[in-house]
Chain length 220, copies 2
DNA sequence: AAACGTTTGAGCAATATTGCACAAATTCTG
DNA sequence: CAGAATTTGTGCAATATTGCTCAAACGTTT
């Protein structure tokens, strides 16, 4: 088998394609071309085909792609043909918001427990979950077979929580804020930093005014 | 002046560098090398120098960079030597969490008003702000000179809100969730899609197990 | 069943981004 | 002050990613 290097951007776009396709499917569309997908999500048709080509041949020449089939293939690639138990550490504003976020459940992510070490928060109910003390992480991870953790604690606590989760067998982490966490090789970490996103906006607004001759690359 | 194309990844990294440098500054560090920055944030030293080189020469050969100065230069590049008034539309869980998010205020983003069109939410207090009806967007934008809007409404409402904000002169938008919004050329839009981030994790967990020979590119 | 229009998949070209290596500039040391 | 040790800034090489083009495959029409 060919050894390929799949760009992370491709994985992100697959996620986007799949949700666009699900919308089409709901509207009764059965077949779609790379052109229509491209128009729908704002990329080039060649990009769509290239992205899919990393993983196989899913279309029919002269016809296009079967919508239901393609959804299934992409979800399979993304590992979403099953449900994933997820734990969340940090029952603050952001953690609470994420617990209520429908988008996670829609894609098969199931937040099975919320943890905090603040006595004021422990015992509180968020959605249908009770906030647990972090000491109970091992027990919950074992019970549900959790492999994914979301960390929404303040920056200074992020590394400590990451260490705790890794020690308990968590293999993938989603962190928030500017913290850079150190984890063993086999653990996958991705980060969401909302300030960066706003600063990309201000860069465009402010810097390009001062230097109109600079060009800037969109995307992202 | 040279006309350059600044990669968005460079802008993101500048944001990261600046926060790392602020930590150093707080600890009393006055001088830093590209090597130390690189170690601190997990990139290559050459990358750090290249990123800075897009905008000028900020270091001294044989010495490194003056921490305070470099912070100032980067903040200037990112347009953060001033405060930015921001409006937020969508007073749900996520919107509420973002209003309370310290990271925004720390970087000079000032959420001056929160809007919703849900009568149950209008009038509610979030932090020290009262939730306003969307009809009052024009007034607030004019009063504060707002150029940036954050949209945290459900997917189906995102395009409508974007249209409203653009009509009222907003030039940059941060949206959440899978919605793809259409805006005029001059408006800058960036999107945060939390499901994508989780799906990058599941892709790694699931797909690579099935196809161990595939390699995968980190970053992002 | 042949001709035509469509659309995929893939090779190749074009761009973009990152990494390497080293001259130039600076400080330090003796 | 000459030589050694750093460390930046940058040209060039190496990779990665995206875009272009077209043969091959399919359906439709006549």
């Amino acid at each position: 088998m060919k050894v390929l290097r799949v760009p992370e951007a491709t994985v992100s776009r697959l996620s986007i394609y799949s949700r666009f396709l699900e919308r089409l499917d709901k509207n009764g569309v059965t077949t779609v071309s790379s052109n229509e997908i491209a128009k729908g999500v704002g990329v080039s048709p060649a990009q769509v085909r290239k992205d899919l080509a990393y993983f196989g041949e899913f279309g029919t020449r002269g016809v296009g792609y079967n919508v239901k089939d393609l959804i299934h293939y992409i979800l399979k690639i993304l590992g979403l043909t099953r449900s994933w138990p997820v734990i969340l550490v940090g029952a603050g504003n952001l953690g609470t918001a994420l617990c209520a976020y429908r988008g996670f459940r829609d894609r098969g992510f199931n937040i099975v427990a919320v943890f905090d070490n603040d006595l004021l928060k422990i015992g509180k109910r968020i959605q249908d979950l009770e906030v647990l003390p972090v000491e109970r992480v091992p027990e919950v991870v074992a019970e549900y077979g959790v492999r994914i953790g979301i960390i929404t604690v303040p920056q200074s606590g992020t590394q400590g929580v990451a260490d705790l989760l890794v020690k308990n067998g968590i293999e993938a982490l989603l962190t928030f804020g500017p913290a850079v966490v150190q984890v063993p090789e086999h653990v996958i970490v991705r980060n969401v930093d909302l300030s960066i996103k706003l600063e990309i906006l201000t860069f465009n607004l402010a810097f390009r005014e001062l230097h109109p001759s600079y060009l800037f690359e969109p995307k992202g």
